[in-house]
Each structure stands twice: as structure tokens, then as C-alpha cells.
Symmetry: C2
Subunit: 296 residues, 2 copies
């Protein structure tokens, strides 16, 4: 007598910030009966149980997966191929599989190769939320409240599977939208993957400078906020950048063009052009903060 | 019977976030008797009086400046030449002049040309504090608490003038240090001016993209924090970038090299190199946040 809104057994593969917060949010909404967690390290899974993020440890085996209603794969993107291969022969005939990867075309390609008969019950998804923190202890029930979750279903994805995943994210408080996977990846390259690379590169530049110590000594609040995302999980971001590297290289090249323009304004002392660029950027950001479009 | 710690009459030229917060902090410390404010627009000065940031409106005239103990010039760097020229013949024989400019070599060059006999009582200074907000209504008494203020005195600067300015900033709760002006400018180019340019350029890139509206629609917390400094005052940052353009161009060129390295790692799919760079950056930032040196 299960409706699409009810999840009996949820399995989280990768109980970190993203997977853990999904579990906590569904528990908080009383939208799930039982949550098992599967992880690479026993220590993290034990911590997740102790923190009440999951109810018990599971494994990539038939006992855990055979009667699961929903499996969320929330590992770094680079591990999804092996997780999907392991899952495919073990999940039940009604088990819906979804992911939380920050890139979608590559996850879909992996799923097509690995999931076999389970593919129509796979719903590619990306919750656009997170902090620079990682691990089960960073998980919070409210992480997804008011945030966007993008679903990028395939032509063959079952409608009922999409509805189950959509309903779960809605019960986490998220705003669920659908996009073609290539649109998703292009947009995220510009507003998420590029800024992460830029922040990592700036901290790297300062850290490897002969005067690094002195430079850090005078870095203040602007530097702190600009570089917050450079405290993000290096392995996760390595995978994201490689998975979406074509779009990311495109955005990096556009950005190199922006910087070359600024350099030329500085070289020729073009005060008006600099002020125009800075003013346009500030105005666009202010519109964005107010919830209007930021387009110039 | 005035000691170096007491300011009778303080004049703030440019009553915005920086000048206004200096006034509020000294008032809060009961370290000043009277604060006059001088501004380009009557409206901002009236607001500053109403908010209690300053006691009354002044002007660049003998009545305001002739018996001032301390004059803080807290205008955008580009206005300092005209302000110094106006001040020079009007300040009293004991009036100490200081500034709050984010660049020091150019302010010193301007001061040398404009201040005449008042030059030995000029103390170049830069409080490394601020927010992306501007105007007298953004001023807060605690802005400088625990923050660094850099003094870059000249060979001819009177010791007593330096002591007055140092004491005033200390009473604002700041940590006062001295640096040669060219060191100051090189360091700030790397940890402040470059990040501001990078943030402005990223917002500009998104705002001018054909899909700007959709891109902003999916921008989240990482983008918000990364670009916070792109809401900074465009005119002020135009002046800073031009004033320190040699050092800034040097840092921009180093940064272009960092991005070219990342691009090449992406091109050749070098997962190990990407993860190493990201990990080094994260580790350096974490050390910096803990108050250790962040050098790699």
C-alpha cells in the first residue's frame, strides 16, 4: 500500500555531507522508515550511526539492496562506476536508484554502461547545496531547504521512479527542477565548477609565493570569503572537474579573456572601462541577491 | 596638557564605512572630544550627523582644519590629490594628517607633491578592514577590532605624528604594524586587489553570458561567498587597481599562469596533479584559518 511519497527502506551509499543530510531531512519529515548506510570506511559509518544520521550499517550486498525502495549514491563522481557495477545485479525489481553527483553527463554515461536492467529505475539528480565541510558529522537536516535539486531523467527513465525521487527531495524542502544533462553541466561549469577552480588557484598562488607567510598574515575577510570554497573536498572536486572538463575548459577560456580585458584596461589606465566593468558586475550581483535576474 | 593618546578635534574627510567606523570607534573609546565630517554630498554628511557618526559638518576651510588635532582622509584614493592640495595651506602647525587608502606608494607620491610643510606630520596608513558595504550608514564601532592597520611612515615623518596615529588605531582595537610602502602594496595586490578583480570578472562573465538568467538561477552559496567582494564600491576599486596597477598586473600574470596549469591538467586528464593542487590549497587555507602560516 506504498504511495510514491513513502519510502520504506532507504540506502545511502557514501554517508557524507550530501548523503547524510538527505537521510536526516527525510527522517525529520518522517518520510522514511529505515535508513542503511554504506561506506568505504567503517569509522565514518559507525560515526553516522552514532550521530543518528543512519540507523545501521549496510553493504553492497543483496540483504541491503534487494528490498530497498530507494538507493542514493552520494559518493564522489569518480567512484560511481564501481558502485553502479556493484549495485546493478543486487537491487530489487522495484528499487529506484538515484545519485547526487555534481556532473550529470558523465554519471549518465557510467549508469548506461553499468546499471543494465536497473537503468529505467535510475534517476540522475544533483542537489545544488553543500558547504565546504565534508563527512557525516557535517550533515544537517536543513541543508536542502529552499535549495534547487536538478533531475536529468533519461528517455527511458520510468515516470514513477522520477516521481519517487522528486517527492523525496521535496520532502527535504528542496525546489525540484528538470534540465537536459548537457544544460545542467554547462550551467554548473559557469557558476560552480569555475569558481571552485578559481578559489583553489588563488590559494595555491599565495601558498607557493616566496612571501606566502607575510601574504597570509595580511589576508582579511574578503580573502576568507572568496576562498571559502577552496576548503572543499579535493577528491570530489578533482572528479567533478575531470568529469565536466570540456565545459569547464570553455569557461576557463572565457575567464582568461575577461582577465586579459582587465589587464589591458590596467595597462592603458582606462579608468572608465574599469569602473564600468566593476559597476556592471556589482549591479548584476545585487539584482541576483534580490532574486531578480542578474543578466546585464 | 594633551598627551599623545588624546585627540581633541578630529576631522574625517570622506565619512563612509572606513572614516565613519574610525569616528565611531574613537567615540566609543572616549578617545576623542569632537568629530567633524567633510564630504562631497551634503546628504551623506547630514545622515552621518543624524546617525551620531560625526558631531557636525565641517568643510575644507581654516575653521574646520586650523585647530584640528587629527585629519583622516578616507576618500577613494583617486580623490586624495585634490583633498591634500586643499588641506595643505589650511591645517594647523600641530595638525597630524593621515589617510586610509588601500594603496600606499601612490598616496605617498601625491602627499609629497601636495602637502608641502605639512608633509612631516602626514602618516600614511591602511586599515585592513571593511565590508562590501559603503556609506556612513554602514559604519560600525567594532569594524577594526582585532584587524591589522599598516602604517608606512616616510623618513621625514615626525615620530610624534606616528605615535598619535598608532594610538588612535590601537584605541579602535586594531593591531598596528609598520611596513615599507612597496611591501604593503605588493602584499595587498596578492591577497586583496587580485581577489577583488577576480570576483568582479567572474560576475561580469556570468552577467554577460547569453544564458545569464539561467546561470544566475542555479548559482548557490559558493558563488555568493566567492563574489561577495564584487559588491564592493566600483569607484574605490577602480582607483585602487589603477594606483597599484604594476603589482596587480604582476599578480594577474602569475594567476594566468596558475589557470594555464590547471587547464593543462584538465586537458591531459591529470587527476593526480589536480588533486595535489586542490589539496595543497585546502591545507594552506586551513592552516591560515587556524592562525598558522599558510605557506606550502
Amino acid at each position: 500500500m506504498r504511495t510514491a511519497n513513502e519510502i520504506g527502506k532507504l540506502v545511502i551509499v557514501g554517508v557524507g555531507l550530501i548523503g547524510g543530510s538527505f537521510a536526516l531531512a527525510l527522517k525529520g519529515a518522517k518520510a522514511v522508515r529505515e535508513v542503511l548506510g554504506v561506506g568505504r570506511t567503517g569509522a565514518n559509518i559507525r560515526r553516522a550511526v552514532k550521530l543518528g544520521v543512519i540507523d545501521a550499517a549496510g553493504a553492497l550486498d543483496a540483504a541491503t539492496l534487494g528490498d530497498a525502495d530507494l538507493v542514493l549514491v552520494a559518493t564522489p563522481v569518480g567512484q560511481m562506476a564501481s558502485v553502479f557495477h556493484a549495485l546493478a545485479p543486487l537491487v530489487g525489481a522495484n528499487t529506484v536508484v538515484t545519485d547526487a553527483g555534481s556532473t550529470k553527463q558523465d554519471v549518465i554515461a557510467v549508469a548506461r554502461r553499468a546499471l543494465g536492467a536497473a537503468l529505467p529505475r535510475f534517476v540522475p539528480a544533483h542537489p545544488i547545496a553543500g558547504t565546504e565541510k565534508s563527512g557525516a558529522e557535517a550533515a544537517i537536516a536543513g541543508l536542502y531547504r529552499g535549495r534547487k535539486v536538478v533531475l536529468t531523467p533519461l528517455a527511458e527513465t520510468q515516470k514513477s521512479a522520477v516521481e519517487l525521487v522528486r517527492s523525496a527531495w521535496r520532502q527535504c524542502g528542496a525546489d525540484v527542477v528538470e534540465l537536459p544533462p548537457e544544460r545542467h553541466d554547462a550551467i554548473l561549469a559557469a557558476v560552480s565548477h569555475l569558481p571552485h577552480v578559481l578559489a583553489y588557484a588563488l590559494v595555491h598562488q599565495v601558498a607557493t609565493h616566496p612571501s606566502a607567510e607575510q601574504q597570509f598574515g595580511f589576508a582579511a575577510g574578503g580573502f576568507r570569503d572568496f576562498t571559502r570554497i577552496a576548503s572543499s573536498h579535493p577528491e570530489m572536486w578533482r572528479d567533478i572537474c575531470l568529469a565536466n572538463r570540456e565545459a569547464l575548459i570553455g569557461e576557463l577560456d572565457r575567464y582568461a579573456g575577461e582577465l586579459a580585458d582587465v589587464r589591458s584596461m590596467l595597462e592603458r589606465g582606462d579608468a572608465a572601462a574599469l569602473e564600468r566593468l566593476f559597476s556592471q558586475a556589482r549591479a548584476a550581483r545585487e539584482r541576483w541577491l534580490k532574486g531578480e535576474t542578474g543578466s546585464a
